[in-house]
């Protein structure tokens, strides 16, 4: 069994061995490992295949920047795709696998792509698969399959997620030395602090180094600070929590992984939590990312970031290679070489592109006996599945020439460092610009646009001493801006050492020119190399955002954390521009990928949207009525008896209403109580009819228009008193209408004395419809005279029904004699039951929304939103009779706009199938001539269509251009089977055109 574990050291718990599986093979690691460190321990060097070329790839980094070790973690419904092995904590039984590579990652047939890589340059897909166009759908399936990264689970997620809102004075993102000092300084001043870090342990870079603070191991300082923070009541400490989004007015989102590290599925536990934090002040201390160097075959397994090598050595006590070459253009990688030497590895050489090499660390490395080759570069890597040796050339600093790579050094690990880039992601998301620092050769956060500041390596401060100091200062400043006086405190001493400046080396010269040499990768995950960027420029792309999309540079799960700056530099060189002139691509949330679960939180299943049930709901449920969703309401759709299907049930219900009596729960109608001295004035402006002319006790069918003149809502409204009205709205329009009325009252007419109260939930409505409805009410002990003259059609009376006070409306949406009982919802079920009993001898029949639709369609009554779509005026609906001539009302002026007066506007008409049996399809297009070749001009569409049991033939309504003038004409409705149904344009009122039945 291979083990690369060091005898001692690291922050792993050697008393807790863990078993895990990678591509089905069983391995062992320790608590405290990441999946990446455990794989390195077990000698697994190939962890994936690249996106396009299917080259074997190994672990490069040790954190969020990892481009290659992108694995599928877990199985079945709780599986997580696209997880970076460097950020997955090991747990017992962890199951990880690669998604790419067939038949397996060690032998991948598609690696043939690599042989033909010259043909697979930037824009390959665009160039190859777009012609012939018709075949794209065919190609796409294979491309999608070949490009797959992870697999989403196919079963519902069994885990719980939650959202939590929080407020704080100071939010600190990142708990490295700067973040910890910031949190400590702010908290000691008295500020409420939240400090979040994506790792399982606080400490950041300190966890991966052998630094000293106040002449003690930094880890001792770290332990004390973490304890102090945890003990403070005003500090919320969030490990395993990634600040992934920075939005307006200091609103930040944090993904906390609560139980992912415990195992695959933890019943009863919250898996992940989204913190939604509004912070008064923010401190960004996210550290920095090390950059790779762009030399030939820099993607071979065994080429790693120098900082990652240090991290694996110091934090996890694993040695990724025995014989190591370090290649750098700055001082920091010298520490890696020293760490390696101390750990017992052989450092074959430090290759430093700078003629002068490193300062203090150079001397230390020399003292440790390490060979330092200043003024040299690594040009190429030998070895395909692992590093065997590197080709080294002497180099004088001239980037335009080729070099003679005559030196070969055997090694199994190449640690590279191209310098560091601050993690400016959150600063950028917050709207801040970045500035290029010519000294540090990186982008640093510029002026912030929100109440935030950066600290530590995140603003380009590389030494521990500077990080501690800047963190402290940021904490004091943030607390001060929240109104807290800073407590006097010491900043501990970290190491500050002399360094020599980094010398940029954006493209490492090779034995051939940049377009001929083996690939020098920029973005490992997307197989984007320097030659791809150069090709993009040759093909006319110059803007970094365009080059990104053409070459895929910076896409994928790492979003360019590893390679973007190198890519921008490659573009800058090619364009002859400076890097800041080329600029960065846009940084968008999320900082690292987040799960859909953490976005959705609790808002799934029953909690996705509120569900509204009427007060009579349980009665409908008790007889198993199927329900229909109407907005958020659940409404009984029809009431089947025995084995009836919907058609049979609806036909029976319709005939019952037409011939005897039916009963319907109409409680979902919106109800608004309007009172006040100016109620009449107000409603005259809202409704198109003359509300002021209505007598007390009368009802009216009213429509409201938008200011554009289009019908917005409709319903019966009643005048209950001189200054008291009761409006009903459509079920779906209730909330909107209330808001609409409120807006006019508050913005335009605040002088009106009007009060609006929603009664939708407080009152229920039971409709009793049919020739026997009057008899039913009499049997239900109604205390008022129900005869025609006493309660006339379109009137309302207060009454008592079975001892309960009700408002009794004599209105009809079916065309039959009908009453609507409005009653306090607490008595609604009682009233319903009473009416059912009273109607028993008339075989009273409950009916649902479907029957309601048929009955009203037989009468030509429209349903807004079904027969209209927001572009239909009252004139189009034939409702001119509703438009008052002697007052202004909302929308009136628009009706005389030229567009509203066109003769060819679509108008509501009835449609009668000439074959007397075809029920049209709602939404079907209407055409004038079925013999015209496609594309056929449309003259309208069907809006409502049903079979009418009482008439014995189908009825339909539609909107037809210039329709009313075309009454009697035959047009054609498209049917599903490529045929058409001839229909005659008729009046929309199919049943009882004189309206006699409702007025008996």
């Amino acid at each position: 069994m291979i083990t690369n574990r060091l005898e001692k050291g690291g922050r792993i718990d050697r008393t807790q061995p863990l078993t895990f599986y990678f591509n089905g093979v069983r391995y062992e690691g320790y608590a405290g490992d990441t999946l990446a460190s455990a794989l390195i321990d077990n000698g697994v060097s190939i962890v994936g295949r690249s996106f396009k070329l299917h080259r074997p790839r190994g672990i490069v980094g040790s954190g969020a920047e990892e481009p290659n070790a992108i694995l599928q973690i877990g199985t079945g419904s709780s599986t997580l795709p696209n997880q970076r092995a460097t950020q997955v904590e090991l747990y017992d039984g962890l199951n990880a696998r690669t998604v790419k590579g067939w038949p397996n990652i060690n032998f991948d047939i598609a690696e043939v792509n690599d042989v033909f890589s010259r043909l697979l340059g930037a824009g390959f897909y665009y160039k190859t698969f777009m012609r012939p166009r018709a075949l794209w759908h065919y190609y796409e399936r294979f491309i999608r399959r070949a490009a797959g990264m992870g697999e989403s689970p196919v079963e519902p997620d069994p885990d719980f997620y939650e959202h939590r809102n929080a407020h704080c004075d100071v939010l600190v993102a990142g708990a490295g030395p700067a973040g910890l000092m910031a949190a400590l300084a702010a908290a000691r001043s008295g500020a409420e602090v939240i400090i979040a870090d994506e790792q399982n342990e606080f400490g950041g870079q300190l966890l991966s180094s052998n630094e000293q603070i106040d002449e003690r191991p930094a880890t001792e300082w770290l332990r004390e600070v973490v304890q102090q923070l945890a003990a403070l009541d005003n500090v919320t400490v969030l490990p395993r929590s990634t600040v992934f989004g920075y939005f307006d007015q200091n609103f930040l989102t944090i993904a906390e992984r609560c139980s992912d590290h415990l195992g695959e599925y933890q019943p009863g536990q919250i898996r992940q939590r989204q913190w939604r934090v509004r912070a008064k002040q923010v401190i960004l201390a996210q550290g920095s990312f090390e950059r790779p160097l762009a030399f030939c075959n820099n993607d071979r397994p065994g080429v790693m970031l120098a900082s990652a090598v240090s991290s694996y050595l110091n934090r996890y006590a694993v040695l990724p290679g025995q014989r190591v070459v370090v290649f750098t253009n700055n001082d920091s990688a010298y520490q890696t070489a020293i760490d390696l030497q101390v750990a017992g590895a052989t450092v074959a050489a430090i290759i430093d592109s700078r003629a002068k090499g490193a300062a203090a660390l150079g001397a230390a490395a020399q003292d440790a006996g390490i060979t330092i080759m200043r003024g040299h570069i690594v040009c190429d890597v030998v070895g395909r599945k692992c590093v065997r040796s590197v080709r080294v050339a002497k180099w004088g600093g001239d980037n335009s020439s080729t070099v003679d790579a005559s030196i070969s050094i055997d090694c199994s690990l190449l640690a590279m460092s191209g310098g560091w880039s601050p993690a400016v992601h959150l600063h950028s998301q917050a709207g801040g610009k970045n500035e290029w620092n010519d000294d540090l050769h990186c982008f640093v956060p510029g002026e912030s646009r929100q109440a935030c500041r950066s600290a530590g390596a995140g603003m380009g401060l590389w030494s521990l001493q500077e990080c501690l100091r800047s963190g402290h200062d940021a904490g004091v400043d943030a607390a001060h801006k929240c109104g807290f006086e800073s407590a006097d405190q010491m900043v501990p001493n970290g190491r500050a050492i002399d360094t020599n400046k980094l010398e940029p080396l954006w493209r490492v010269p090779a034995v051939k020119g940049p377009d001929q040499c083996p690939k020098q990768f920029l973005d490992f995950q997307n197989d984007t190399s320097i030659s791809d960027v150069r090709l993009a420029v040759r093909e006319g792309f110059q803007n970094i955002e365009h080059v990104k999309r053409y070459t895929a540079l910076g896409f994928g799960t790492d979003q360019g954390k590893l390679g973007n700056i190198n890519g921008m530099a490659a573009l800058a060189e090619c364009l002859g521009e400076s890097i800041p002139n080329v600029g960065t691509t846009t940084f968008r949330p999320a900082y690292t990928p987040v799960t859909f679960g953490v976005c959705a939180g609790e808002g799934v299943g029953d909690l996705y949207d509120p569900m509204r049930k009427t007060a009579i709901h349980e009665w409908h449920e008790s007889i198993d009525a199927p329900f229909e969703n109407v907005g958020q309401w659940l409404r009984p759709w029809y009431f089947p008896r025995d084995s009836e299907d919907i058609d049979a049930a609806v036909a029976r219900e319709c005939l019952a209403v037409r011939n005897s009596v039916g009963i319907m729960d109409a409680s979902t109608l919106g109800k608004i109580d309007v009172q006040g001295a100016d109620a009449t004035t107000f409603l005259d402006r809202i409704y198109t009819h003359k509300v002021s002319k209505m007598n007390v006790g009368r009802c009216a069918y009213g429509i409201m228009l938008g200011e554009d003149g289009m019908v917005m809502d409709d319903g019966v409204m009643a005048r209950l008193g001189e200054n008291h009205f009761y409006l009903t709205t459509t079920t779906g329009g209730a909330a909107h209408v209330l808001s609409w009325l409120e807006k006019w009252l508050q913005t335009e007419w605040p002088e009106l004395d009007v009060y609006l109260t929603s009664l939708t939930d407080q009152y229920s409505t039971v409709a009793v419809a049919g020739p026997n409805s009057r008899q039913v009410l009499k049997h239900a002990a109604c205390n008022i005279d129900l005869e025609r003259e006493s309660i006339v059609f379109m009137s309302v009376k207060a009454a008592e029904l079975a001892g309960v006070a009700v408002q009794l409306f004599r209105v009809s949406f079916s065309g039959e004699l009908a009453f609507e009982v409005n009653v306090d919802s607490r008595y609604a079920l009682h009233i319903w039951t009473v009416l059912m009993e009273a109607g028993a001898e008339f075989s009273i029949t409950p009916y649902g929304t479907e029957t309601m639709h048929v009955l009203r369609a037989e009468k030509g009554f429209v349903i807004l939103g079904q027969d209209t779509d927001g572009s239909v005026s009252p004139v189009d609906l034939g409702m001119n009779w509703l438009l008052s001539r002697d007052k202004d009302f909302l929308g009136l002026r628009s009706l005389s706009r030229p567009d509203c007066q066109r003769d060819d506007r679509k108008q509501l008409v009835g449609l009668r199938s000439l074959d007397n049996e075809s029920v049209l399809h709602e939404g079907a297009q209407l055409i004038t001539d079925p013999d015209v070749a496609a594309p056929v001009p449309m003259c309208g569409h069907v809006t409502s269509a049903y079979h009418s049991a009482c008439l014995g033939h189908p009825v339909a309504m539609g909107l037809v251009a210039g329709g009313r003038a075309r009454t009697g004409e035959t047009i054609f409705a498209s049917a599903s089977d490529d045929s058409v149904v001839p229909v005659e344009i008729v009046s929309p009122v199919f049943y009882d055109p004189k309206g006699e039945r409702q007025n008996v």
């Binding site: 307006d248 609103f251 200011e707 808001s739 913005t747 605040p750 202004d888 009136l892 628009s894």
Partner: protein, 91 residues
């Protein structure tokens, strides 16, 4: 997510509010006296500025009051909120 100050309830999250478009558009007193172009101007034309903007917001999940907000459409910075009756000058 914006932090919006309701003049009656104080600062609340954007999810409590709904947007009502450009502020300061007054309904003509006598619409029928207007020509088509003038009416269309009231009905359809909005400034849609890049930068400083006055807009209507409704505390729809709170006190249900309408009020004005001075907001920069470019930076999303909210300068101040104001009651409609007093107008933005008073804020």
């Amino acid at each position: 997510m914006f932090l919006i100050k309701c003049p009656w309830c104080g600062e609340r999250a954007e999810t409590e509010f709904s947007y009502g478009g450009e502020a300061g558009i007054n309904r003509p007193l006598d619409p029928c006296a207007l020509g088509d172009a003038e009416w269309a101007d009231y009905l359809f034309m909005r400034k849609n500025p890049k930068g400083a903007h006055k807009e209507l917001w409704n505390h729809s999940q709170g006190c249900r009051r309408w009020f004005g907000v001075a907001r920069d459409t470019l930076s999303y910075e909210i300068a101040f909120s104001y009651e409609l009756q007093s107008g933005p000058e008073e804020a």
